[in-house]
Symmetry: C2
Subunit: 291 residues, 2 copies
Amino acid sequence: MPLINRLAIVGVGLIGGSLARILREKNEVGEVVGIGRGKDNLERAVELGVIDRYCHDPREGVAGADMVFLATPVCTIADLVGEIAPALAPGCVVTDGGSVKGEIVSACEPLMPAGRHFIGGHPIAGTEKSGVEASFAELYQGRRCIITPTERSDRGALETVVRMWELTGSEVVLMDVAKHDRVVAAISHLPHMVAYSLVNAVGEYDGCDENILKYSAGGFRDFTRIASSDPVMWRDIALMNRGSVLEMMDFFAGYYAELRELVAQGDGEALERFFARSKQYRDGLVAGTRS
Amino acid sequence: MPLINRLAIVGVGLIGGSLARILREKNEVGEVVGIGRGKDNLERAVELGVIDRYCHDPREGVAGADMVFLATPVCTIADLVGEIAPALAPGCVVTDGGSVKGEIVSACEPLMPAGRHFIGGHPIAGTEKSGVEASFAELYQGRRCIITPTERSDRGALETVVRMWELTGSEVVLMDVAKHDRVVAAISHLPHMVAYSLVNAVGEYDGCDENILKYSAGGFRDFTRIASSDPVMWRDIALMNRGSVLEMMDFFAGYYAELRELVAQGDGEALERFFARSKQYRDGLVAGTRS
């Protein structure tokens, strides 16, 4: 018997499509219903065998589902949950893949009717591609998936969501909502803020008589790749995880100011220590890489 | 007739070895003498055919050379030039590959005896490997090489250095010393300062009850790769290019502070514009990539 009888996925792209693929491959889902606006993408998803059928109306799409997965932009999730809530079947579990959890979980939990459950989730996986064509069953293999239950979470619903992500090959980690938002602010949101600032600074530096970006080599391009990320998505993340992003931005600014002072003072010993500490953390990271 | 009769290379590693390889391949050098401390590396360089012979004493090694290439750490170059200056043959051209030019050029030019010439250079190339084993003839192909002549530079010496780098397949760019130091501060030194600060901040963040680096995924690792660079080398670069590094660090700090305020104010429109501007610069960079 499959874990899920009917899975409704809102947003059948890389994230939603890959989840459907692996669950189907393992025969752990009876039927998959895709929900979205774009007809072409949904028809392609049917052709590819990622979903069985689709519809554009979220309420209609979630009817009779025992699991609903929301893979839409972070700023849309709470509204979407409000819209589908009245149409959810008894016992239905709703979960999401948004990279911010505090605002989403606190908004969505109270929207759930009795006997329906919201559990926040965040699979830490992705590629630079998007759309259902880019989805593949192995996307989550060996990656971490953070699940953020609260005191209000239904134990059975939580277990089902954990089991679903374990089936994808993910390493599931349960984490407090606030801690999740700090962790991702540190390892993902902060680096994006830094990269965006860096590229703007170098791109607009006016101390030479020409744009100096043209002298950049491979190192600069690698370092700044994340500054090519979608501005709208990052606007939403910065707004929705504002508190943690600000906390981490200020925390970074302290280290940066310290380094600036060491450079200004020409303190070679302290500079070497500063760089060596960083190298140690970074090398430890690589040593700890899981394939 | 080859461009160079006898080339003396101090520091036969990736940078020095690759220069020797391409000049030999093109029959543009008569004899290559390697100079360094490590016997094993130099013997390996002979075995690999990168150099013809070697010696440990720089003065002995440069005798009779018409071109000397210094591929040692930036902080050693001025002392080295002081040491070899009395042993240089008439007409000899000395050049280097250091990534900082102001301090090096201003220190080395006055050290040259009459009829011997120093020309500063900086081939923008490299890999994560080092040592003569890692050297290869194509390292400089399609890369930029910045040459920084001054008013005192001998025109013939400059032409020879330019020609040598053109033979490697590099695109040679002549640049004012101060401009060079600003350009590399922006596209290379600043990103390193930012990456080192970021990894230290995230590595030492104490707002969760555990080290959060372990949650980092591929994106963080890619972004912070340069924080694994050699602390001693970067200490020297920060010290030697202090003025430009500080200028660029402060310039970046202005953009970062601006972004921090946009996040604090929750100004979605301005955030999207900030990110979109950055994405535009970054995407333009990739579109302009030379293969």
